[in-house]
């Protein structure tokens, strides 16, 4: 069990947890993720690290309530525990001094963007951050982004703060105004990352994206997280989660993310869930009498 030391609401439906996981904290690097299970009957879900403290032995996770497990997690408080935390997983890319970096975060994707741009800032780069959300109250970690960036731009779909529109439009304006980044890093929903790539591709700007594919084990054993990058099948868990955004087949990724939509609805609805469990009990014989 991995105790939750602190839990707080960052925005409606978006929670931040500080979890005791000393082994993970000691090895964590920007870009790493963990696979967690909330309880004994839970799914294994991947979450990219939002922060960590090697000395305190803690990691920070930011979770938006979207499916069964994340909703369950939303009910947890300090003093509760996660059943499992495995990590740090994935390939943490090297962070070097390259000049100017533009970090683009959308929605809950702002959380994993934070340690990445902090890493770039510490390495001596000029960091421009763009953070967006549907509206002002869903925009998270703005203060932390401000601390580790030289320039911070905000965007909201409804115009309640910052640019009225998408982060990709802010990026486009910056590039048109003459900013020439060595790299653009985009983390967020698939449509957002796709829109960012549509802006950078014609300008020939190297663009890295962090993908949120469905996973089971997170260690290369299931292949459920496979994604086409430059026409080659790669596993998000061990080859990623960061890839060259100009090469990623986003349409395929989006389609693979939809695979369990109907089941997710069933699992997330307590009434339906209870009913389905009862049917199942009648159907399945006890599998082992021992």
């Amino acid at each position: 069990m991995f105790p939750i030391l602190a839990a707080r609401l960052l925005a409606p439906g978006i929670h931040e947890f500080v979890v005791q996981a000393p082994r993970v904290a000691r090895k964590a690097r920007p870009g790493h993720f963990v696979v967690i299970r909330v309880d004994e009957k839970g799914e294994r879900i991947p979450l990219t690290l939002a922060d960590w403290d090697a000395e305190a032995g803690t990691i920070t996770l930011v979770v938006q309530e979207v499916g069964y497990s994340t909703r369950l997690m939303g009910q947890l408080a300090a003093g509760d525990a996660l059943q499992d935390v495995l990590g740090p997983l994935g390939t943490a890319p090297p962070i070097e001094k390259v000049g100017t970096i533009i970090g683009v975060g959308g929605g809950v994707g702002v959380a994993p963007l934070y340690p990445r741009i902090r890493g770039y800032k510490q390495a001596g780069n000029r960091v421009v951050a763009i953070a967006g959300a549907r509206s002002r109250d869903l925009l998270i970690m703005v203060d932390r982004l401000r601390e580790c960036s030289d320039e911070l731009h905000l965007a909201t779909d409804d115009g309640s703060v910052g640019h009225h529109g998408f982060v990709s439009q802010v990026l486009e304006k910056l590039l048109d105004s003459g900013v020439r980044p060595a790299e653009v890093l985009a983390i967020g929903p698939v449509p957002m990352m796709r829109a960012v790539v549509e802006v950078t591709r014609p300008r020939g700007i190297p663009t890295t994206v962090s993908l949120n594919a469905l996973m089971v084990d997170g260690t290369g054993m299931c292949g459920g997280c496979r994604v086409s990058v430059g026409g080659v099948t790669r596993f998000t868990c061990v080859d990623g989660p960061e890839f060259d955004g100009l090469q990623v087949d986003f349409a395929e990724l989006q389609q693979r993310l939809q695979q369990y939509r109907s089941q997710e609805k069933l699992a997330a609805d307590p009434a339906q869930r209870k009913e389905a469990c009862r049917c199942l009990e009648q159907l399945t014989a006890p599998s082992f009498r021992g």
Partner: protein
């Protein structure tokens, strides 16, 4: 007791099984096991031959004639203990070992009639012991006094190789910790082999036995990422480390359409069902796609497991698609028969060339071509050659790819200095010693995907070699230290 000549005429006792139509729709165990009467009848056929060729056919050299003689005498507990001298996982081996190509293949009765059902008898005594002799923690008096006590040894991976190495090292007296990446121990026995072939309660029981020997198990640790081998050695004080991380990296077909929704690797499909218990969704939160018409590509044991699982989840029609012929199918004969009895269809000499997806992204069909067998290839099997113009389309809505697994990449990718071969398997000597001084390895991570028992044999050999190494280094140093202290 009948004489040898009469015994030769006795028929082999076949193990009762669930009716195929019934079992194809439930996850309960297929083979039901021998009753004491059936076991004793079958054991009575054994000649107890002096040169016991069966023992040589067993990768861990279980004293087969001796445990069978104890069954004849009715001493089932004694028989179980006799097996455990060599094999710490008999209930598992009795179920999943390919006896027909190992111990039973060497049985002298095999030449004339049918070999003794050694696997069935091993299973019987292990089950009997579990059900009738609630386990007292085994007393290991020699080990308690052992100078090995307090010397820390790590085992990476809790599949058959790791569990066996851990048991042998613990019995010698070492303080053993097993590290497992997943949330539950057992490796392929947990995520790969289905409930109907190996009930997880039996695996749990075997792991409890291991814990009773003093073995600690730490789950959620991906050695290589969570902690390095060097850190385990230098910082955490593990004097020797056994690596049994297995072959779990799924091979894919690399054909168009393979990333369509509804195409699984067998590993993903079986992991969802076995480890995550998706067959009890939504009580368990992990879903799995229930296909109506399912194609499983490949004809090994994993393919049979996936096909029979699909049937049990409610598929209307399940077929195996295999590019060679029946003779070359790598699965155990018994599992092929079981699959056929349950209604799995076989498209032999057929090879997928592309997977068709609908506008919704989901699988709608699989285009295959017919094959014929040409000259033998490197594996000694006749090479399948496409027949021009022979394409046909299978109407399927779920495809499971079960064409083999490669070595798990995490530990090997993140351990500098560990020598690998061109397949990514760890290179070792005959005792399992790797290129790193304090690291041994065995099982599928060394050989590529093979059998449970072969992995157990490798775990045993490595445990012996690790003990010899520790006796000549750490323990010798301790003794020298003690005598110096006295002087």
């Amino acid at each position: 007791m009948p004489g040898a000549a009469d015994r030769a005429k006795l028929p082999r006792v076949e193990m009762p099984k669930q009716d195929p139509r019934q079992r194809a729709r439930n996850f309960s165990e297929v083979a039901l096991g021998f009753t004491p009467e059936l076991a004793q009848t079958e054991a009575g056929r054994c000649l107890n031959c002096r040169n016991h060729p069966c023992v040589d056919g067993c990768p861990v050299n279980v004293p087969i004639p001796e445990f069978i003689a104890l069954i004849v005498q009715g001493d089932f507990l004694g028989a179980a203990q006799k097996i455990k001298e060599k094999n710490s996982l008999p209930a598992i081996c009795g179920r999943v070992c390919p006896q027909e190509s190992q111990c039973e293949a060497r049985c002298v009765w095999g030449k004339k009639g049918k070999p003794i059902a050694i696997g069935g008898l091993e299973r019987f005594v292990a089950d009997w012991e579990r059900e009738h002799a609630p386990q007292a923690p085994p007393s290991v008096p020699a080990a308690c006094e052992s100078p090995r006590r307090g010397v820390r040894v790590a085992v990476v991976g809790s599949g058959p190789a790791g569990l066996t190495a851990a048991a042998d090292l613990a019995r010698l007296g070492y303080s053993v910790t097993v590290f497992e990446t997943l949330h539950a121990p057992g490796g392929v026995l947990r995520y790969g082999i289905p409930e109907f072939r190996l009930p997880k309660g039996i695996l749990d029981h075997e792991i409890e036995y291991l814990k009773s020997l003093g073995v600690a198990i730490e789950t959620d640790v991906a050695v290589g990422l969570t902690v390095g081998l060097d850190e385990l050695h230098h910082r955490e004080g593990y004097q020797a480390i056994f690596v049994g991380t297995g072959a779990g990296l799924p091979s894919l077909l690399n054909i168009p359409g393979e990333n369509a929704n509804g195409v699984y690797s067998a590993n993903e499909y079986l992991t969802r069902v076995n480890l995550m218990k998706a067959y009890r969704f939504p009580e368990y939160a992990t879903p799995v796609r229930i296909g109506h018409k399912v194609a499983v590509v490949g004809a090994g044991n994993v393919a049979m497991d996936a096909a029979r699982t699909a049937l049990r989840l409610g598929a209307d029609d399940v077929c195996i698609v295999y590019r060679r012929s029946r003779q070359e199918m790598p699965a155990r004969h018994e599992e092929i028969v079981n699959a056929e009895e349950e209604g799995i269809r076989f498209h032999l000499l057929s090879n997928p060339v592309r997977i068709l997806a609908g506008s919704d992204g989901w699988v709608q069909g699989m285009v295959c071509q017919r094959m014929e067998l040409g000259e033998p290839d490197a594996s000694g099997r006749r090479r399948p050659v496409p027949v021009p113009g022979s394409e046909f389309t299978l109407d399927v809505d779920l495809v499971i790819v079960a064409i083999g697994q490669g070595p798990n990449p995490i530990l090997t990718r993140h351990t500098p200095g560990l020598q690998l071969d061109r397949h990514g398997c760890i290179v070792t000597d005959a005792d399992g010693r790797t290129s790193l001084p304090y690291v041994w390895a065995g099982g599928d991570i060394v050989t590529g995907a093979a059998t449970v028992i072969a992995a157990m044999g490798a775990g045993k050999r490595a445990a012996r070699a690790m003990d010899a190494y520790l006796c000549s280094t750490v323990l010798a140093g301790q003794r020298a230290g003690v005598s110096e202290g006295r002087g």
